[in-house]
Amino acid sequence: MSMIASVSFRSAIRRAAIALALPGALLAITPSADATTIERVVSDSGVEAWLVHEPALPLIAVDFAFKGGAVQDPAGKSGTAYLAASLLDDGAGDLDFRAYHDRLERKAIELSFSADRDTLRGAMRTLTENRDEAFDLLRMALTSARFDAANVELNRAQILSQLRRQTTSPGDIANRRWWETAFQGHPYGRAVNGSLETVPNISIDDLKAYTHRVLARSNLKLAVVGDIDAATLKQLLDHVFGALPRDPELTPVENVVPQGLGKRVMVNLDVPQAVVDFGGPGIPRKDPDFMAAYIVNHILGGGSADSRLYHEVREKRGLVYSVADSLVWLDHTALFLGGTATRAERTGETVDLIEKEIHRLAEGGPTDAELTEAKNYLNSSFVLNLDTSTKIASMLVQLQLDNLGTDYFSKRPAMIGAVTLDDAKRVAKRLLDNGMLVTVVGKPTGVASTTAN
């Protein structure tokens, strides 16, 4: 039942969110729902899961995150968490790669692991009838992954191939240059998948040491959605996670603010379309101004075709196919970060226009009508993220990572409603008046580099 491959979309206003893999993108549209129906299930060994019991379909979705992602990579070995995550489902216990994948495949169990900057993330999906087998395979991956040499070398070769491809991909270059310039000397400056220099240095012992330090019970955030009740889940939680150590051994990470504001970094690459990343400091998730900033960002370049950037840069002038930005909140910094792409001879004009629009919003703030529309949108659209089990599970993990309660859904509309026009104006200035770091990759004209390439 696959669709014919060649599909062309009208708009890709979410390019930035996808391309930059922003953790905040998960909550770009935040939900509201009846708080009483999320159950907190706590097992005897203290493992907590947020459960939405929904038996309408015979399937179960699981999502989880361990605090301690690529920021925990040892010095000179960036890419460790990323490589380790890729190996967790490549054989465990007495099952080698082929035997383990055979078990997954035979029962149509979907299991995947990934690393981002702050977390090691996992997701599983199974039919109810294969529930026990699925949770058992998950237990094995988390407690007895094999890291067999042949699989380590294969995955390493795949990542090195990906890294080589990224050296000539304008989007990847723009993104890497943005982060390494903004966070020079800090773990956030390193790419999650490492580099051609570091990935060859990662040993099997490094991978085992990483998972040993990070896979623990007290830094686990877990959500389960679907055809499973609390009592059954409680038993399975101990079975799957009970053998993990209680506490992780995490290396402390410094809080940091992005550097290079006001800079334009140019990288020459022979492509017809220049790719641009732009961004600056954001507002932390815990900050009382966060919701106002979230609204302001929605007005600037958030998810809808109503945003100022979309309107001015795409609709009015046809300069780009996509332009958008998002708030990004990490454990040790906060950002707003966006991207676009345009033909060489219009690049200068496009970057200038984006800066002008950001400046205009910082100075004048949104209009009353814009604020009302944005609040309506953010309040009404929450429910669109609650229509599949996997979406709900991923959202419940994000809420836990953000230290929000099970009552957040019901409190959120009032939090949005409380933002006044004065708040929005003040926070627009606070968010958008700090200058930006811009990276441009291509052979653009009309953009002056502020740094030698």
Binding site: S2, I4, S8, R10, R98, H101, L127, V275, L378
Partner: protein, 443 residues
């Protein structure tokens, strides 16, 4: 507002495949309703049975360009009124074009369904275009072409491969169009195309979500039902392929290519044109050969000989005239594309000669059938399945019966499909390389 959530988080409901309803309004517009009462959300889609393969020669990209222009307003809802209304209610919208169809959709809280139907009904025939909005949009599309194709060597190879695979059929044209032809598209051409193809009798509406067939029917009659037929639609008879006699190879060289790869596409039947059981056998064949990390190609090339970094196979069958069966591989450093291709051919030859095992057949079936259950978790996915199938000449019953037909596939049918359709003479092989050095050339 909280009352709405009972449906999602409420009491247990019976587990069952959704009851699909399908009816046709008096003006010829078809409606499909896919109930999913877990969340108070609906996905509303309208599918026009027109795509890039219906364009006039020399105007490639017109179907997709018109898709963009459909957001420019009508007399009743001028400018961006439609999009603003969608945003005001917290909805999401987008659209997409393929060779066979053009579809528009909104995802909205359930109570706004009828408003969406009214807006969508209005733009079936009410589009107003001025050069003031058309010209910037052409530049947007050119930037889209830059992003998807011009900046991406793999996508450029894909275009060249399609052009070589189809000797005569318009599937050989890129959906987004050839750049030199996109540049010449204009308002008059777009409007002429619109008047020729956008009419209720050429459209299918799919509504998936927290609705009943009765309410959708009533709302559809009050909105879509009021749109008069604008034109009759001719049968979709495209120029078909002659007997293909020669394997083709295409090599795209770009200094930016850091990871070479080879891909082969075979011309095969689509779900619509296949004989009974044939497209299902191709689906199983693709799965056994190349799905996941425990398939034949992976075991032979990545795990066994350890010459490839990745490999796989696919069957793209949802199309009016032809399907595509593909295999691909990327070599490890120091391995040539030729070695990869030999390895792939050995695996294909083995299946052609000896077929697949009963165990492989069972595994593929349980996985494919499970995928159908997983799809039920996502109303937007279901809406797309039904819309794409109906827009390419299939029926609701055929979509519903898909798991049963997969169950019925035999190992013999899979081997027969491999024998019949893995025919190099009806294929194109594409090589993505850094430069046309002799050792990398495959001409």
């Amino acid at each position: 507002m909280l009352a709405l959530f009972g449906a999602l988080f409420g009491a247990a409901q019976a587990s069952a495949a959704p009851e699909i309803s399908h009816f046709t309004l008096t003006n010829g517009l078809e409606v499909v309703v896919v109930p999913d009462h877990r969340a108070p959300v609906v996905t509303h889609m309208i599918w026009y049975k027109v795509g890039a393969a219906d364009e006039t020669l020399g105007k490639s990209g017109l179907a997709h360009f018109l898709e963009h222009l459909m957001f420019k307003g009508t007399e009743k809802n001028p400018g961006a009124a439609f999009s603003r209304d969608v945003a005001d209610i917290g909805g999401q919208e987008n659209a997409f074009t393929t060779s066979d169809y053009t579809a528009f959709f909104q995802r909205v809280p359930r109570e706004h369904l009828k408003a969406m139907m009214a807006l969508e009904a209005d733009r079936i025939t009410g589009l107003v275009l001025t050069d003031e909005v058309v010209k910037p949009e052409l530049n947007v599309v050119l930037e889209e072409q830059n992003m998807r194709v011009a900046n991406n060597p793999g996508a450029r190879l894909g275009e060249q491969m399609d052009a070589a695979l189809y000797l005569n059929h318009p599937y050989g044209r890129p959906v987004i169009g050839w750049r030199h032809e996109i540049e010449k598209l204009d308002r008059d051409q777009a409007l002429a195309f619109y008047r020729r193809f956008y009419t209720p009798n050429n459209a299918i509406v799919v509504v998936a979500g927290d609705v009943t067939a009765e309410e959708v029917k009533a709302d559809a009659e009050e909105t879509y039902g009021k749109v008069p037929v604008r034109t009759q639609i001719a049968a979709r008879e495209r120029p078909m392929e002659p007997v293909q006699e020669a394997p083709r190879t295409v090599t795209l060289a770009d200094s930016r290519v850091e990871q070479p790869s080879m891909t082969r596409n075979y011309l095969v039947p689509s779900e619509t044109t296949a004989k009974p059981g044939e497209s299902e056998a191709l689906e199983v064949l693709a799965h056994v050969l190349g799905a996941g990390q425990d398939c034949r190609l992976y075991r032979a090339l990545v795990d066994g000989k350890a010459i490839a970094l990745s490999t796989g196979a696919y069957y793209s069958g949802t199309a009016l005239d032809y399907g595509k069966f593909g295999v691909y591989g990327t070599p490890k450093q120091g391995v040539s594309l030729h070695q990869i291709e030999e390895g792939v051919d050995a695996v294909l030859g083995e299946v052609v000669q000896h077929g697949i095992t009963p165990d492989e057949l069972d595994r593929a079936k349980s996985r494919l059938v499970a995928d159908a259950v997983y799809a039920e978790d996502n109303q937007a996915t279901l809406a797309r399945w039904y819309g794409a199938a109906l827009a390419t000449g299939q029926t609701v019953d055929k979509v519903r019966g898909w798991p049963d037909r997969i169950h019925a596939v035999t190992a013999e049918a899979v081997q027969q499909a491999a024998r019949t359709w893995l025919d190099r003479r009806q294929s194109v092989t594409g090589y993505l390389v850094k430069s046309l050095q002799p050792e990398e050339s495959h001409s």
